[in-house]
Symmetry: D2
Subunit: 481 residues, 4 copies
């Protein structure tokens, strides 16, 4: 077995009976029937079907020598620039199919797993490190086309720089015991998108100041592991009508707090533990950032194209294309889009083989893009709102169009270039994209995808090689020291 | 009779049986029981009770010589600067009671009615103008403490500058006939906040290029006038729980499209019709803008104080008060708040009597404030989102706290300076304020309250007297021509 | 004797023979004849004459009971709000006369001296403090209408937060010895505007982290004290022609590094020394900031009016008043201007008597204004450049208009509403205001007038009382802790 | 003969005796000795020498089949992407040698001439068009390594959209007569950078609304053609000292108004005249924009690297590298730099052959870059000023360091990581780059290089193909029309 289809994905997930709490109730029965999850699971299933479609199969899968069956291309370890571009095309297909709205589409996590495996050697020979378990994760994932989420953000108890996070009872998840079977974990992680909706959960730690060794671990375990619980936020599915909620009815992914209630992580699932240096080095030296950014930025470009389409169709519909300030606002989207595309392409063109034979996209253009997008995305959302103006406020629903006031709606909500129903559909999309609870969660999600934007710019600054430019100045001025 | 209380307001409204369409269904039964309206009507009722409270009665009402009973102070025609400041205090009371969230609180519309009456003489002796009907509206409103909404935005068919808006069947509401009883109106208006939730609807027209005489009218009619229909958008009430939806459960005002289906407007209700010049002059020369701005900006200041409180409490809760960029963001709110306050105060200090004896606040500081607020409000919303960061995303509900996972929530969602439940309440408030459908509608509402921001700055520029500053330069340079 | 006139000012200054170094040369002869200083000294002299003008004398001076002669009103210690408003009018007169271009106009420093004297009691009874010397400075200053500069910025050796500033030889000025005659000072201060062009220099220290006691002093000494040296930067006087350099020919103030080469400060000139707490308290508790801000912001408002005049005259001259983006840009200036005016007025209206009987303007509106201006001033400069566009680049000189190519210039540089000569004058003014070395120094000066803008916003945040707004939220949410 | 060296360039120019007016005086004698021009001409000469240097000759020249001698590579008509990249390297060499400061470096104009020749066929067979004269210009230019400036901006009489520009006497240069020898031109053009400092002037017209046929011409004539006059603005050379004026002493290019006093343009120099359509088509359809943008953006990238070097060296010198807001500001420069580089590279990678065999870089990424740079360049200038802060204000001169106060300067102006002299050199460079009259003219120049920024964004919007993105939305929503 290798790639699965949508049906297989759903059935496997329903069977797992992960412990998911929604609005104070533990979910029973098939998760795929639950109003909060049916839309996103259907969308996810359609992505698995995409891998199997005749048209795209070639571009979505590859064959490994050890495996006669096709494997999802998101697992491909790229050895050449062509591999990289092939990967990008695959990511575009997944992203286009969901218009860039699904942050945790399977290819994202598969890419993470691939990058971990490609860099497992970073851990070789280090204390409490088990690179072989990463490799077996990778093989298991390919074999079963597993789906994942990950979680690495600690609870937001206190964001002061000098907060050390000590408490009697664990808050942030930590190793509280270890025995012959494995590690015992207790505590919580703040946020897993699609938590409970995947086969496994990949758990690791973002390095930080005052990094407690008991929090310096990484592993992957099945979502239905005993003691593992997912506490959902409220659902942002507006309703089932795709007329009313064209996006949230399909792409609301759910986020959850992950609780480890004395979870036993078997030794063969542990990648490392109790090793602050290894935990830090692994994230810094592995190809995690390169490949994760490459996936994310490809998806964000597709999403930006969707924004441009919505903005331009709004402009045409209410006929405001003559205004200079409209040109300026649309140009902002175009400039953002083309800039992201150019940076992504440059990261591929400047890719280099790492010491373990992976063709890594160049990190600087990707870091630049990751600094730009969290700023332009909220602005694009604002631009849509400004173009829509008062037209965003009083939008009728599908039922209204199905009622006896339809003829009045048809007359009074028509646009010059569009009938009333289509126009309301379009404006409802603009609203769902930027103003519904679903839309604003998307904004917050993209704003923080790569972490705190302030830290992102510090990292870029520190990472960037500035010496030759400083030398140019020293030379120009004939400085002595 | 004069000021009413909340109960009277509700009963009178329920009796009217206005024709309100919600999600394709005509509302039957008491509007005050409907899930989409019960919260806002309760909040509104509490405002009427406020007028009757022992503590505030003195500051909320006045006595006219012709009337032995107290009258709502929002109807007071100010003759002195003290009157103006008294009015401001009254507005602050209304606004504080609802934290600035109710855009169409009764004092707003009462103020509009008062301003119309104070300036009725602008229409004296002009063709098709009936200033006496404005005066009788004013007296009727005071006598019965009527509630109003208004509507003046035309449907957004085509926003091109050269669009003339001709069509066979009316889209925008216009006079299609007149007879001995009155005018007959057919067509729609885009947006009335609280449409259907008030005793009357005040209808007038914003002057514009290519102003069709058949649209140049103004009148006020009962909301249950035959042929008058209100088509609601979907409700942004998240639910009844004030834990989950601290704002939308109380302050979701609803907006509706107003449809005139051959509505007969009796002659004694008509202020003017078929007179483009009078319609234009009335809005420009009356005290409408001065008093409306004075009310709105007072409310917006109160709302900004609410934002500052939320922002600062977030900062304290997750302990980020040490960061310079946090100081900068909170300072932005403080600067906005103090600027608005200073401008409002200046408008009062520079107030002048108009030719009909009204003490009008100075328009320039108010116009400046009305240029500023639509820009800073969305930014304040963004600041709250940035402070809350990932903490805004995965918030449990009231039911979750009432369930068996409570102890885990208590442990994992605690903040350093706040227990988990309070902290979740606070973050849910921050979310409802800035990210829920209710919150984003508030943003759009404040952004467009005074109309298109681009036109606002053109108007300020044109309105501002620049001559003496130009003369300073001519003098300094000794220019000849 | 009391107020002096321009001639007296010049003669007294020439007599002092302060040690001023310009471009590597010690200035000899009358400073008022030096090309780098003649313009500014003439402008300064005209300000002293203004005090004596028949028209303005009443508004520019006051009579004290102990003094039969009129005294400059900038020395008036305000006891009432009317005094404050009188002071503001006087400041406006000084500022209008120089179009807001002179940062160190005499009223600024007189105001500082007055504020020091009004708050001398802060130092009463504290170690190494001599409040009586501040009082005698104040009396001496009034009696002789002395002019001052001040200096409090330390050299920019290292701006790291953890830099302690130790070195074998003093860099920053410090007390290196004391004897029966007074303190001995060695070291430098970074910047004194008009250093060497005033009767005295007021020296004090801005409190800071790691405040070395040997730097915690304050005093005022004559500019020609032995060992006191002023090292000028290059001059930004473009030339003598007021056609070519309408501003720099008149208002270039010069900045200098102040060097203390074993300067003896007599005991009766010392206000305090070797007392870090007193030095800190004095700046925080005295009325220094209130009155200094009140003067500065008044001047900045006058300067903003000048910008508005230039911008509007440019708009009229090249006839771009029809463009919406021009309205937006001019509105930005109007909004800035009216905001500053409203804040200044509020600071006066909210003024309160301090414990020593001074009517202090309210600090918060002034702090808000001081946060705003450093951001809007550079933007105003940019707006002027954008309106002028390519027209700012190729401007002929006065000599060109006096030559045989004049008729061609007249023809080719005419504007629709202005002859070529006037138009070039106007554009040269726009250039001198925003693009000449003089203009950019003005920008940098206003940007840093109140210190580092980032620290300004931290201070505002910390200073602002936020409790009642936080309490509103706690109450609204019924928080328990 | 083909490429020339610096000496040949200077001698040829001196011989021409172009009619240049400076400060009301007609320049006599060798232009290369004039204080306003010696620096720039020396810099320009060094660029010609660069073509002849052993190290770079290969990368700076090419051999044509018809020409045995090496030709400047800026004349190469690219046929392949490799040619394009070769061109870019050559441009980088020119630009690095002058740190991106010379806007009219010879390669810019050579590129323009090359692009005209490559696209001469646009004019084939059209009325009043002489494509063969463009070809002979190209050959003449290569043969003699001619230098050029161009001019296409009309005088700024009236910028209203509806201004038609009629006047009795020509203001804007136009054809007033034609005879057997050629066209007679009278009137002015607003701005030619290095006007009078080149062998020839290339004159053409930017298409516009209300395009007068008498202004629809293009030609190239020697700078010393009878009746051709250059009226200079004042010089922004601060002085000869490269310590004091590291940039303006070398790179101040001068701008001038170009006056045509009945200039006869021989027929064999005319490219087209009296043909509005041809004039419009030529600029739109030729490869002018593609190749000009490609050159300009390459230079701007080199200049941005220079800014980054200056900014980083300032940071190191005053040791502010620990501050987050400094990281953010430096990151802004890095983001700008990398964005420009990625866009330039994409324009090369997406290049396509045009119908006449030229490999044109893709226009969209170049247009995007040309929209970005005018916004980020002024911001970079501001960032430098903000990092330098008060340290930018009081900088001593070279003479001061050569005088007896040197030891005091050495002590008081030292930085932690740099001696006083080097530190002052660095800060003077930062000042000359951003705050001197030279620096601000650079800002204005880059801001308007591609024309009015508002029009640039309109053009990008109109030029960009948005259809497929709109179709995505139509498909997603199943719209009917």
């Amino acid at each position: 077995m290798s790639i699965i289809n949508g049906k297989e994905f759903i059935e496997r997930l329903n069977k797992m009976k992960n412990e998911i709490w929604f609005d104070g109730v533990k979910i029973k029965g098939a998760i795929s029937d639950h109003p909060a999850f049916k839309g996103i699971l259907k969308a996810k299933a359609s992505l698995y079907d995409l891998q199997n479609s005749q048209d795209l199969k070639n571009e979505m899968t590859f064959f490994s020598s050890e495996n006669e069956n096709p494997i999802g291309l998101s697992y491909l370890q790229p050895k050449t620039k062509e591999d990289l571009k092939r990967r990008r095309k695959m990511i575009e297909h997944w992203a286009r199919h969901t218009h860039g709205m699904m942050g945790r589409s399977p290819d994202y996590m598969n890419t993470v797993v691939m990058s971990f495996a490609s860099s497992a050697n970073v851990l070789s020979g280090r204390e409490n490190c088990f690179p072989e378990n990463i490799q077996s994760l990778y093989e298991r994932a390919m074999k079963h086309d597993l789906s994942f989420t990950h979680t690495f953000i600690t609870p937001q108890v206190n964001r002061s720089q000098v907060y050390l996070g000590f408490s009697n009872e664990p808050i942030s998840a930590k190793v509280i015991d270890q025995n012959e079977k494995g590690l015992v974990i207790k505590g919580a992680r703040l946020l897993a998108t699609q938590g409970g909706l995947t086969d496994e959960v990949l758990v690791f730690s973002a390095p930080r100041l005052f990094f407690d060794p008991s929090e310096a671990f990484a592993f992957s375990i099945p979502s239905n592991t005993k003691g593992l619980k997912f506490f959902c936020r409220e659902s942002f599915v507006g309703g089932e009508s795709s007329f009313n909620y064209p996006l949230s009815s399909k792409y609301e992914e759910m986020d959850s707090i992950v609780v480890f209630d004395n979870v036993l992580v078997p030794w063969d699932r542990v990648f490392y533990y109790d090793n602050v240096d290894a935990a830090t080095d692994f994230l810094v030296e592995s190809s995690f950032y390169q490949f994760a950014y490459h996936q994310v930025i490809t998806r964000q470009i597709v999403k930006t194209e969707f924004f441009l389409g919505v903005a331009q169709l709004l402009v045409e519909t209410i006929n405001v294309g003559e205004y200079q300030h409209i040109h300026e606002k649309l140009s902002e989207i175009i400039i953002g889009l083309e800039t992201m595309k150019a940076l992504l392409e440059k990261s591929e063109n400047d890719a280099e083989l790492d010491e373990w034979g992976s063709m890594r996209p160049s990190i600087i253009p990707l870091q630049v893009a990751s600094n730009i997008f969290p700023k332009i995305y909220p602005r694009f959302s604002e631009i849509i709102q400004i173009i829509g103006a008062s037209g965003m406020i009083s939008l009728p629903t599908e039922s209204a169009f199905d009622s006896e006031i339809r003829s009045e709606l048809d007359q009074y909500l028509q646009a010059d270039g569009m009938n009333a129903e289509d126009r309301v559909k379009l404006f409802r999309l603009a609203w769902d994209l930027t103003m519904s609870s679903f839309g604003t969660r998307q904004t917050q999600y993209e704003r923080y995808f790569f972490g705190d934007p302030i830290r992102l710019s510090s990292n870029l600054y520190k990472n960037y090689i500035k010496d030759k430019h400083v030398e140019e100045i020293r030379g120009f001025l004939n400085l002595k020291n």
